[in-house]
């Protein structure tokens, strides 16, 4: 259940160009969050909260890690928040990835840019349960790359950059041929990337995490709807998602 919680900033550091890793302490959220869920963060002077995915959880230390890119006024302000400060957060938000190991031996994670963070907590959860994890991560260029080592610890990891300044040049789809056999795939990233992937991996079972501008973040305002192939015709990203079966939604 989503709650309004106060989270203390334990650390904050820029780990790649414009990309900040922040660790937040809170027992309720660290105990209940599953991979793919998000925090809805209030920043003073802003009327709308900012949704940021949960990138990792340390249940023992009651820590939740988020990774975000400084893109606009909200994320820039968040980057300025110092250790010790308290954040007003709604969380954990939405429905995350279903971690289901039955009959699976290998899962494929595909993350693009700031879609990489939620993949990490998911991969870690699978790896801890003995599933092979293969990751394909795409970034703009070398200076934007983050968490390469962390993903390598989970399993085989391929990095691509748009400009070829690190790893393979191109888009994540260009690297998919290098990946061996896998059961399900999981992906988060920019819409064009998700379109290309769901297209290319049509035959596979996959789950994708989507983004949309949000009002309430809890399912009340109908700001974040997405057309679906189901009878009802739409889903709310904030409360039905952000994770959807790739075959269920219309991108």
């Amino acid at each position: 259940m989503i709650k309004k919680e106060s989270m203390q900033v334990i650390s904050s550091k820029e780990i790649a160009k414009d990309t900040v890793e922040m660790k937040l302490e809170n027992s309720y959220i660290s105990e209940t969050a599953v991979p793919g869920q998000f925090l809805h963060i209030l920043l003073e002077g802003h009327s709308l909260r900012r949704p940021i995915s949960i990138a990792d959880v340390d249940k023992e230390k009651k820590l939740v890690t988020i990774l975000f890119k400084k893109l606009g006024s909200g994320t820039e302000q968040l980057a300025e928040v110092n250790s010790g400060a308290l954040l007003d957060v709604l969380g954990p938000g939405g429905n995350g990835f279903t971690v289901d190991t039955k009959g699976k031996s290998t899962v494929l994670l595909i993350g693009g840019g700031i879609g990489v963070p939620p993949m990490y907590y998911l991969g870690k959860t699978y790896a801890n349960q003995g599933i092979n994890v293969i990751s394909v991560l795409g970034f703009q260029s070398k200076e934007h790359v983050f968490y390469e080592e962390e993903f390598q610890e989970l399993g085989e990891t391929f990095i691509v950059t748009n400009d070829g300044s690190y790893g393979d040049k191109g888009f994540v789809t260009n690297a998919l041929h290098k990946v061996g056999k896998f059961d399900n795939y999981y992906s988060c990233g920019p819409l064009p990337m998700l379109k290309a992937i769901t297209n290319k991996l049509q035959e596979k079972t996959g789950f994708i995490s989507l983004e949309e501008r949000m009002g309430c973040g809890v399912g009340a305002c109908f700001a974040c709807v997405l057309p679906t192939k189901t009878e009802k015709g739409y889903k709310k990203i904030c409360s039905d998602g952000p994770v959807f079966d790739a075959r269920e939604v219309v991108l």
């Binding site: 259940m1 309004k4 009002g215 109908f222 700001a223 015709g233 409360s239």
Partner: protein, 303 residues
């Protein structure tokens, strides 16, 4: 003891605080955060004759001390609302107000008439002012004779008290208020959003897919207070006030201007507990400024 009760046509409110239409869905989501029985009333999301899917996304954008929205009246249609949503809200000890929308007078009549048949809805809020519906909603909201006509028809279609929700996008708010009062409105609800636009520089496109959206939040509060004050001088039906309320002090400001109760919209997004917190703070705020009851403060601005 500070008395928070307010008596309005069809509404026996334990306090004057209610979430505004469209900013609270049908209550379910916020029932996770606090007990909805605490609320004076709940105004449901707009209902139309049939299910509506609304506008393309993005549908919301942030502005200085406010936001734009162009949801486009997405809702499951009046029948599904009565079937699935009203029974849930009826579990709570609070009044239920249905927000009635449509593209034609016939649709307004249909929706109002359908709500009339349910015992759990206590009043109607006639949404003639949603700026995001292109087919005609906007005309009802800015033309006094159209507004009067739809009010009259809806009054005939239903026995429920009707609060007409006024649009602030008009030259003469008093004229609009008088027109719907003469047409039989039991109360007014004001203000809806002001039409606005924001352009995203990287794409050069409007940030809202619908191009324009409705501006709400603290940015519009002075406009709401002014319109309520002006209307109060010229009509005798009660006013449910709204527009940028975020605190018990704001509530008192609206009461002084002439509102008998208030609705809180955008602030629910910033803080899902806001209505509950305002209700808790209201007695002390009234007391601080020398009032012993809500009724006491209504219209008491000193000119």
């Amino acid at each position: 003891m500070i008395d928070l009760k307010v008596q309005l046509p069809g509404l026996n409110l334990k306090n004057p605080i209610m979430p505004a239409s469209g900013c609270f869905g049908f209550g379910r989501e916020y029932s996770q955060f606090y007990d909805l029985s605490k609320l004076g009333a709940i105004i449901m999301k707009a209902a139309t004759g049939r299910e509506r899917f609304g506008n393309p996304t993005p549908r919301v954008a942030e502005t200085s001390s406010g936001m734009l929205n162009a949801i486009g009246l997405q809702n499951p249609g009046v029948e599904k609302i009565i079937e699935n949503e009203v029974p849930f809200l009826a579990n709570y000890d609070t009044s239920i107000i249905a927000n009635v929308a449509g593209s034609t007078i016939e649709e307004y009549e249909l929706v109002a008439g359908t709500f009339n048949a349910t015992k759990d809805v206590h009043a109607l809020e006639l949404n003639i002012s949603c700026p995001n519906v292109k087919e005609g909603g906007i005309q009802f909201g800015t033309n006094p004779s159209m507004a009067a006509k739809v009010t009259e028809k809806v009054k005939k279609a239903s026995n429920l008290p009707v609060y007409v929700k006024l649009s602030p996008n008009v030259s003469d708010i008093v004229g609009m208020a008088k027109a719907v009062e003469s047409a039989g409105a039991d109360g007014l609800s004001m203000i809806n959003t002001l039409t606005g636009m924001q352009i995203h520089l990287p794409t050069k496109q409007p940030l809202i897919a619908n191009k324009t959206g409705g501006l709400s939040g603290p940015a519009i509060k002075p406009i709401a207070v002014r319109m309520i004050y002006e209307v109060k001088q010229h009509v005798s039906i009660p006013i449910i006030g709204m527009g940028g309320i975020t605190s018990a002090e704001d509530v008192l400001e609206f009461l002084l201007a002439g509102a008998s109760a208030v609705a809180v919209g955008t602030a629910n997004f910033t803080n899902p507990l806001i209505c509950s917190e305002i209700i808790d703070a209201l007695p002390a705020t009234l007391e601080k400024y020398g009032f012993t009851s809500v009724e006491d403060a209504i219209g008491k601005v000193v000119i």
